[in-house]
Amino acid sequence: MSASAVFVLDLKGKVLICRNYKGDVDMSEIDHFFNLLMQQEEEGLVCPVMSHGNVHFLWIKHSNLYLVATTNKNSNASLVYAFLYKLVEVFTEYFKELEEESIQDNFVVVYELLDELMDFGFPQTTDSKILQEYITQQGNKLEVSKTKVPTTVTNAVSWRSEGLKYKKNEVFIDVIESINVLVNANGSVMSSDIVGSIKLKTMLSGMPELRLGLNDRVLFAITGRDKGKTVTMEDVKFHQCVRLSRFEGDRTISFIPPDGESELMSYRINTHVKPLIWIESVIEKFSHSRVEIMVKAKGQFKKQSVANNVEIRVPVPSDADSPKFKTSTGHAKYVPEKNWVVWSIKSFPGGKEFLMRAHFGLPSVEKDEKEGKPPITVKFEIPYFTVSGIQVRYMKIIEKSGYQALPWVRYITQSGDYQLRTNN
């Protein structure tokens, strides 16, 4: 892996904070980074790897920051990106928002974290839960040498500390499925898939052993059971706490959970899903005078279910003005800085159909710049429902002390990358 140094830059290319881990790349090399980036942007050929001489810059952008790693080796690029994203994740957990201001306000903690996350160019302790045990934002308060190495740093179970205690032992299980859909302008579904994840909020004492049962088709096939609906998951990924060997063997998901919130597993289902909210749109543009938009939305899911907080974003030309709306339900709002109309519907029952009409004026003097054709995007959330039909059949919790613990399960289906291309 070996990153020589890590830099955090602002949007103008000024170094906000940096850490030289290896000392084998001159720290002033970073001055070339921004020039290269500008040059590439001008040519329209931005690339996440840039090279100057034998120094390579691997960079990502997060809000108004660039995070850059430099290396002079042919190192493993995806590992470096993964590390930079890990930095973002850790910083975000510390400061809520990772942006220029939070870096400047918390530079002491940032330095401390950079020091622990990596040493000599190699990732060390990167789990933010563990880091939070010995690097705190309250560090500015004077504490007399109370800091001890937390047990987790040296523990056999690196993701959980020993000796946790809760009055009430509970686990909350969230099954969340996001639907990605791409529909082309003729209304045919180009691609669709479901990305699911099972999230845990664990509030359990001690070192509990958990076992999760799902209606997984492969498991049912092994055990010879064949009742009810089953689901074939592809591309299943687990948190490091899950014993992979057991899953490979008998499809049991058994683990010692991390404390607090964590993502236990994720999966992908690559079936053809019917778009849950179907949009038909007619966008008519009359040059120099007006744009007329008609959008019809239809809930293509069970009548008993309700989609909440539905937001349908319809693109409009950037020079449009004087909006007028008419909706059969919900309300529409023009967001000029994003060049779209948001039609929000608080609750959208299955099987229903709604209509929105919008009218915009266009200036008589057209602007020269050509505009792209952004798609219509839809956001929604359907509780108590999973598209794939996945279900948690049981969650067993076993701890030495033998306490009773309660598992709570919640299902949510939401929109992921949900795009419908427009003809305009």
Binding site: P48, Y81, D115, F120, K148, D235, K373, R421
Partner: protein, 737 residues
């Protein structure tokens, strides 16, 4: 960046830090230290405070300690003498009862990059290696590597190396991986850390305890290990099997790399591993992070070099999202071009068509180039789309389409007529120099098929004074000379004007020399010029047909999952346009050289027998069968090599290129293998059979035998036909070797 008043600030801070009242109030003292670090972060030179900061390191507050250490590390190389003063404090901290403090002090002491350090840090490092807290051991192990990098030219300390090897058995997983990392650095000159059988097996068993970073790196280290036997190899692979599906993309890709390298001798295992990882790879291509998505796409591209079919059914995953950055879109388009097949071609083209009108001209041009690549196989559909794009009358689109046409004609001569027709009908000429060059090249090569060619060219010659690009001028010269050769009456006058201008008035020496060259050439006579100037009108290597061959995995397995594939050939489609635009003009250079003719399709000894074949009206199976039975074999020849192992449709396409139609052939690898062909030439119909007997059978050498029948008979045509057929089959055969 020192700014105005910085000296004042430093002085003020110095005063404050030295103030006993401030020192007494811990909180105020610490606030001042924080201030110093803030200024340091902002780029102010606060190195003058070194002494005061060293004093501040004697504290029980661990955050303050960290800040002071950070300060010292930053300025140690500027103030080596003062830094030495701090060493005592640091060494004392290395013996602190709190392991956090010990680790911290040791790590920072090792980070002082200045001469003279080794003698002070060696002892604490060795002590740290045996510390009971793993936190300190982790730091100490990497400290060994830092120690070595401080004195790179000294001998390697054998005892430290041994100790590090022993620590590979440490219970703490991070210590284990740090040991590998440190040994790798220390033993760099000797080829890095040695992975022998016990170490390899130990690491394999520890894999599941490691965090994802460590897993990735250990997998990379394991690349160095060669299992003794196949049994051991398969044991290792089955231990690692689960990691192919790891939650972390970088781990699964690293595992794949190890699989590919270890199982180099077992193609079936490699193929299986690739199949297993195709799902995680595809998932990375849809990852939330653009950079990881990009890396995933690069990996997919590498895999496709050997297994083009692996992602065939998932082509929709490579459709571009609206908000994706262009570097991802470029890669996706490259992949889509490779994934095209009979079933998905319509959808893929429709998708690419929608990218052609993208706001970004680079993207639009790349999409057009991608359609051009597909056109080499599915000419008709693509030509329709490209022609449709011309109607949009957008400069950058027109230019890209014309460039694509030029490449298409070069690679697929059968599309020439259609292209010429379109170019003829196209009223807007490209405005940028690449587009102009492409148009001129087309006019020059196929001027006889474009009736308006001289008028278009005249426009360029008249506008010569305002033309800035010398490349366009050079192309114009070549075009005018070529055109003069085929349509002298219309072009003689303008060629004269052009040569006169270029020789007398042009300031660019290259253009002038080129004009002089053509001038002298023309003085030698028209026939001489024709010989020198005209060359093959299409790609003689038939790279279209053989270009898509599967490469052995070993070609790319060694660079898999490194930085190389991401930065090596950035934005391939883009460079494709550029390199392709150089291609024909560089071949124009070659054309001037005598002897370059041997590369043409008909090999040199057949030149006088060169005949032109044509397909004519199609022949039905029944007619062929009847004629084959009626006619007698006029010629039989053993070709001297076995049948090319290409796919049947490649063979068919290759023969079609030289106007030989394949009527029927035995599928797959069945023996004896037969194929029936027909063509027309010099007014005769030629029927032929290719036959390959079982190579194991006595009497046959596993070589192809061609039998030819003809109506009416003409030995000259048969010889020409056999020569062409032979050269095509030979090309395919040797390309597969």
């Amino acid at each position: 960046m020192p700014y105005f008043g910085s000296e004042e600030t430093v002085k003020e801070l110095k005063r404050a830090l030295a103030n006993p009242h401030v020192q007494a109030d811990r909180l105020r003292y610490k606030n001042y230290i924080t201030k110093v670090i803030r200024y340091m972060t902002q780029g102010l030179d606060v190195s003058a405070l070194f002494m005061d900061m060293v004093k501040a390191s004697a504290t029980v507050d661990i955050v303050q300690k960290k800040l002071v250490y950070l300060y010292m590390c930053t300025y140690a190389s500027d103030k080596p003498d003062l830094a030495l003063l701090a060493i005592n404090t640091l060494r004392k901290d290395c013996a602190d009862p709190n392991p956090m403090v010990r680790g911290l002090a040791l790590r920072n002491m090792c980070n002082f990059r200045m001469p003279g350090m080794p003698e002070y840090i060696e002892q604490p490092i060795v002590a740290g290696l045996r510390d009971k807290a793993s936190y300190v051991r982790r730091v100490a192990v990497l400290g060994c590597a830092k120690l070595h990098s401080l004195q790179p030219n000294t001998d390697i300390d054998g005892s430290i190396v041994n100790e590090l090897y022993a620590l590979l058995r440490d219970p703490d997983p991070v210590v284990v991986v740090n040991c590998l990392r440190a040994l790798e650095e220390i033993l760099k000159d000797e080829g890095g850390v040695v992975i022998n059988k016990p170490i390899a097996h130990h690491l394999l068993n520890r894999m599941k305890d490691l965090d994802s970073w460590a897993q990735s790196e250990v997998l990379t280290f394991l690349l160095r290990y060669r299992p003794r036997s196949d049994d051991e190899l398969f044991d290792i692979l089955s231990l690692l099997d689960a990691f192919l599906q790891s939650a972390h993309a970088h781990v699964s890709v690293a595992t794949l790399r190890l699989f590919l390298n270890l199982a180099a001798a077992h193609p079936a295992v490699q193929a299986d591993a690739l199949l297993h990882t195709s799902a995680p790879l595809l998932a990375t291509c849809g990852s939330a992070s653009r950079e990881l998505r990009f890396a995933g796409l690069c990996h997919v591209q590498q895999v496709m070099r050997s297994q083009p079919g692996l992602f065939g059914t998932h082509y929709k995953r490579f459709f571009c999202g609206y908000s994706e950055p262009s570097y991802i879109k470029f890669r996706k388009m490259e992949i889509l071009v490779e994934l095209v097949n009979d079933e998905n071609v319509a959808l893929v083209l429709e998708e690419l068509r929608s990218y052609c009108t993208d706001v970004s001209p680079e993207l639009a041009q790349a999409a057009i180039a991608a359609i051009g690549r597909i056109a080499r196989t599915y000419s008709e559909k693509c030509l329709d789309i490209l022609t449709g794009l011309l109607a949009l009358k957008q400069d950058h689109i027109t230019s890209a389409v014309i460039q694509t046409f030029r490449d298409l004609v070069w690679f697929c001569p059968q599309s020439t007529a259609a292209v010429c027709q379109t170019v003829e009908a196209c009223v807007d000429n490209p405005q940028d120099s690449e587009g102009k060059q492409a148009l001129l090249w087309l006019l020059g090569e196929h001027g006889e098929q474009i009736s308006s060619a001289p008028y278009v060219m005249e426009g360029y010659i008249d506008g010569l004074k305002t033309e800035l690009s010398s490349a366009v001028k050079m192309e114009l010269l070549s075009t005018s000379v070529k055109m003069f050769l085929c349509r002298p009456a219309e072009t003689q006058d303008m060629l004269g004007r052009l040569l006169h201008y270029c020789i007398e008035e042009e300031s660019d020496m290259c253009v002038r020399d080129r004009a002089l060259l053509y001038y002298r050439l023309l003085q030698r006579g028209v026939e001489e010029t024709r010989k020198a100037v005209t060359g093959p009108k299409s790609d003689p290597s038939m790279s279209v047909l053989t270009g898509r061959q599967e490469e052995p995995i070993s070609l790319w397995a060694s660079t898999f999952n490194t930085l190389g594939p991401l930065s090596g050939r950035d934005l391939c489609l883009q460079t494709d346009i550029i390199s392709a635009s150089e291609q024909p003009s560089s071949s124009a250079e070659e054309e001037l050289l005598p002897g370059s003719k041997d590369v043409t399709l008909s090999s040199p000894n057949d030149t006088e027998e060169e005949i032109s074949l044509s397909l004519g009206p199609p022949l039905s199976h029944e007619t062929f069968e009847k004629m084959w039975l009626d006619l007698e074999i006029l010629h039989r020849q053993t070709l001297g090599f076995p049948r090319p192992k290409t796919a049947a449709d490649t063979l068919q396409a290759a023969l079609q290129l030289v106007k030989i139609q394949t009527l029927a052939f035995t599928p797959g690898d069945t023996v004896p293998w037969k194929a029936y062909l027909y063509t027309r030439g010099t007014g005769t119909l030629i029927l032929a059979e290719l036959l390959q007997e079982d190579p194991d059978e006595p009497g046959s050498e596993g070589s192809l035998v061609v039998s030819v029948k003809q109506q009416p008979g003409n030995q000259h045509t048969i010889r020409g036909f056999v020569a062409i057929l032979k050269s095509v089959l030979q090309t395919l055969h040797f390309d597969r070797l």
